[in-house]
């Protein structure tokens, strides 16, 4: 008998969008220092990469997490460098651009959901 798993593929992108917007909120307003610290580190180290991670072919969690962190730091660095060399350094603007990239990746994930996985339940 074939059972269809509940499709929760929207959960991660939605969580990322919420995390991105929350991070932008606490950074721009400067409120909640401790949550700000945690959110910024978690978001900058994982957010942009995870937004695209679902599309990656990584076949195990180690590779997926490593790729997500590498991609996140890579995107952060590229955006920061572009604004640095444009003489337009502003950590708020850099963060907003990174949040934008994360939102884009998250929307891509939602608009291109993976086929729901099926499991074969063996009959005794």
């Amino acid at each position: 008998m074939k059972m269809e798993r509940m499709d929760l593929s929207w959960l991660l992108p939605v969580a990322l969008m919420v995390a991105g917007l929350l991070t932008a909120l606490v950074v721009l307003t400067g409120i909640f220092p401790l949550p700000r610290l945690v959110l910024v580190f978690a978001f900058l180290f994982l957010g942009p990469g995870l937004a695209f991670a679902r599309l990656l072919p990584a076949d195990d969690i180690f590779a997926r997490v490593t790729l997500s962190i590498a991609l996140s730091l890579g995107i952060d660095a590229v955006v920061a460098m572009i604004l640095l060399y444009m003489d337009a350094w502003s950590y708020q603007n850099i963060l907003l651009i990174i949040v934008g990239i994360t939102l884009l990746g998250s929307i891509l994930q939602i608009s291109h959901p993976r086929e729901p996985e099926t499991v074969q339940e063996e009959r005794e």
Binding site: D59, L67, A70, Y91
Partner: protein, 634 residues
């Protein structure tokens, strides 16, 4: 007779069958219990190792370190913890390599025990260069720009990617300085190397034991110390990830096999030597087939990481360029345009963006090209000048390096004899070595070459024990591997922890440095005993630095003989609004251990300045002192 014999045989088979059925009904429970008990053993051993590590920490007094570094203050329980962990890992990897999470826990525990220990014990950022890197981050935070023409550290201003990233993180997190988290960079980078290495090794072999043993040996032999808050660590992580992605998802053999998965086959089959070699690439690992969108995304990631390397570090782009070039030339990976793209990016950055640095240093870079002997010798401390402890440390480091190279070569040959020609890994071992001809990289090229070759040497070192899927089943391989691991750990601890006396900065030294950078007048002259202190981490561009130990030999001799008059002459220079002499415990440790000046020189200079009526102490505590001229005053 024959019928009777057949009947008896049939009866015997029936009995066997019934017995097997009986066993089948009763055994699974017992087997499952035994299986669970076997699984509990490594978990218990990991817990013991962690416990031994945790009870070791409170008794360590970093201030009491001798010239063999942390080893002199770590209690025996710390070493016991490492031995227990090694025994448990060796058992698990050879007997139950399918327990991936347990193997993961072993390596994780090792990384934490080694790399979190200094951060926990010291409470201050270790290693003077890490402080200097915090200073560049601080510059970007204050100015929102870099100054490629700046006098001090202009290389960093021409390759500022790592610092821009950290300025972003620090400011966005609401922190005042990267110092707040930089101590944990070593642990972070080693964890990142871990993930990247797993991806690489999975592309080289399907043998789970070989994958995990290679990871283990990498961390046991990575004594170079390029894992701190530095652009090299950042670039190296990206280097490993790029190599991992390309070997795992863009290997040409896999490309051919996945013809039905929308992947193009090379237009012309490879012929000749390269074709012959390419046909023998490592293990024919089957990975997940790539959909076109995934291929595009992975290549986009590779390009983003390549760009990050290009603008963050001087050496890594050339290492990566060489690696890509050789892997493409030998038909190991595709797309073939990647080295070209990387080459264009590197040249564009070096000649169109980092022009101030390139213009100033091109001649010296070209002059060191081909001078292999001086490029090598510039990397090694002079054993005749170093302290006894440092001689031991240096010998341990050099011995470990040579042993790894020798064992890796033996492992390569052993696997070759068993029919595995690991072309990709072999190329990646060899690729960094030509850099010896190119440059001495500030006297560090030898260590960087080892660093870049190490992941693949660790693979071959493990291959010595596991040349094939069938090998390593007896007791010999795990026992030998465990013994070798323990031996390597001993050498590793000497080599990696051996310089901690000079890398460690006490809270008093940090307080003195904070006072100096918080109070020194902009434009001042800062005379340092050496550069080994919590240095240049704040407002660094405002001062001129003169480390005494880097002065010519004659000048140093004059200063040591008569510091008061020499320093008075230097500090009387009205070009500077103020002048300070800064001497700390860590500087004295460096001088006495490495021998950049005669042992006791800085202690002697300090005493003479204290006794001189020309100088006064502006600030002092038990580990640091700041002098100014009496008649000038800051």
């Amino acid at each position: 007779m024959a019928e009777r014999y057949q009947q008896r045989s049939k009866d015997l088979e029936d009995v066997k069958s019934e017995f097997s059925t009986y066993l089948g009904r009763t055994q699974p429970g017992a087997t499952a219990v035994l299986h669970e008990l076997q699984r509990l053993l490594p978990i218990a051993l990991i817990a013991v190792a962690v416990f031994l590590w945790l009870i070791s920490l409170p008794v360590v007094k970093p201030r009491d370190m001798t010239d063999i570094g942390l080893l002199s203050v770590l209690p025996v329980t710390y070493y016991l913890g490492l031995i227990v962990l090694t025994a448990s890992f060796s058992y698990t990897v050879f007997r139950h390599a399918e327990w991936r999470w347990l193997l993961f826990l072993h390596v994780l525990t090792f990384i934490v025990m080694i790399h979190a220990t200094p951060a926990i014990l010291y409470g201050t950022l270790r290693y003077s260069w890490a402080w200097k890197h915090v200073g560049i981050t601080d510059y970007i935070m204050r100015h929102g720009s870099v100054n490629p023409n700046i006098d001090f550290f202009n290389a960093y201003h021409n390759w500022p990617g790592f610092f821009a990233l950290n300025a972003l993180i620090t400011q966005a997190a609401g922190l005042s300085s990267a110092l707040d988290y930089a101590s944990w960079a070593t642990l972070f980078f080693n964890l990142m190397f871990f993930g990247a290495l797993l991806t690489i090794y999975r592309s080289l072999t399907t043998d789970s034991r070989l994958i995990w043993l290679s990871v283990w040996f990498f961390f046991l032999t990575d004594w170079i110390g390029q894992d701190y808050f530095a652009p090299q660590s950042f670039g190296y992580f990206f280097y490993l990830v790029i190599i991992g992605i390309l070997l795992r998802w863009f290997a040409i053999r896999r490309q051919r096999r996945s013809l039905d998965q929308t992947m193009p086959i090379p237009a012309h089959p490879r012929r000749g030597l390269w074709g012959w070699l390419a046909e023998r690439i490592s293990e024919p690992v089957e990975g997940p087939a790539l959909a076109p969108a995934q291929r595009v995304l992975l290549l986009a990631i590779v390009i983003v990481l390549m760009a990050s390397i290009v603008f963050s570090h001087q050496l890594t782009p050339f290492m990566l360029l060489s690696a890509l070039l050789m892997l493409v030339l030998f038909g190991v990976i595709y797309p073939r345009s990647l080295p070209f793209l990387m080459g264009v990016m590197v040249l564009a950055w070096v000649f169109f963006v980092a022009t101030p640095f390139t213009g100033q240093n091109l001649n010296s870079m070209l002059s060191s090209f081909g001078t292999v002997k001086s490029n090598v010798s510039g990397n090694l401390i002079n054993l005749h000048e170093a302290s006894t402890g440092q001689v031991v440390i240096a010998i341990m480091g050099r011995g470990l390096t040579l042993m790894v190279i020798f064992l890796a070569a033996a492992g390569f040959l052993r696997r070759l004899r068993k029919g595995h020609f690991d072309l990709a890994a072999m190329l990646l071992v060899v690729i960094p070595f030509p850099m010896l001809v190119a440059n001495n990289y500030g006297g560090e090229i030898l260590f960087r070459i080892y660093f870049f070759a190490l992941p693949f040497m660790a693979f071959f070192l493990s291959g010595l024990f596991l040349p094939t899927q069938e090998s390593g089943r007896s007791l010999v391989a795990p026992v030998l591997s465990a013994l070798l691991s323990v031996g390597i750990i001993v050498a590793f601890l000497f080599a990696y922890y051996g310089k901690e006396k000079q890398y460690y900065f006490t809270p008093e030294e940090v307080a003195a440095a904070n006072y100096l950078y918080g109070n020194a007048l902009p434009g001042s002259l800062l005379i340092e005993g050496t550069g080994d202190y919590p240095a240049r981490f704040r407002n660094y561009e405002l001062y001129t630095y003169v480390p005494i130990d880097l002065e010519p030999t004659e000048a140093k001799a004059q200063i040591i003989a008569n510091p008061a008059s020499e320093m008075q002459r230097w500090m009387g220079n009205r070009q500077y609004p103020a002048a300070y002499i800064f001497i700390t415990r860590s500087m004295m440790a460096e001088v006495n251990m490495v021998g950049s000046m005669p042992a006791g020189s800085l202690e002697s200079i300090t005493r003479k300045l204290m006794d001189s009526d020309k100088f006064k102490v502006l600030y002092s505590n038990q580990d640091a002192v700041i002098f100014v001229l009496k008649d000038r005053g800051p």
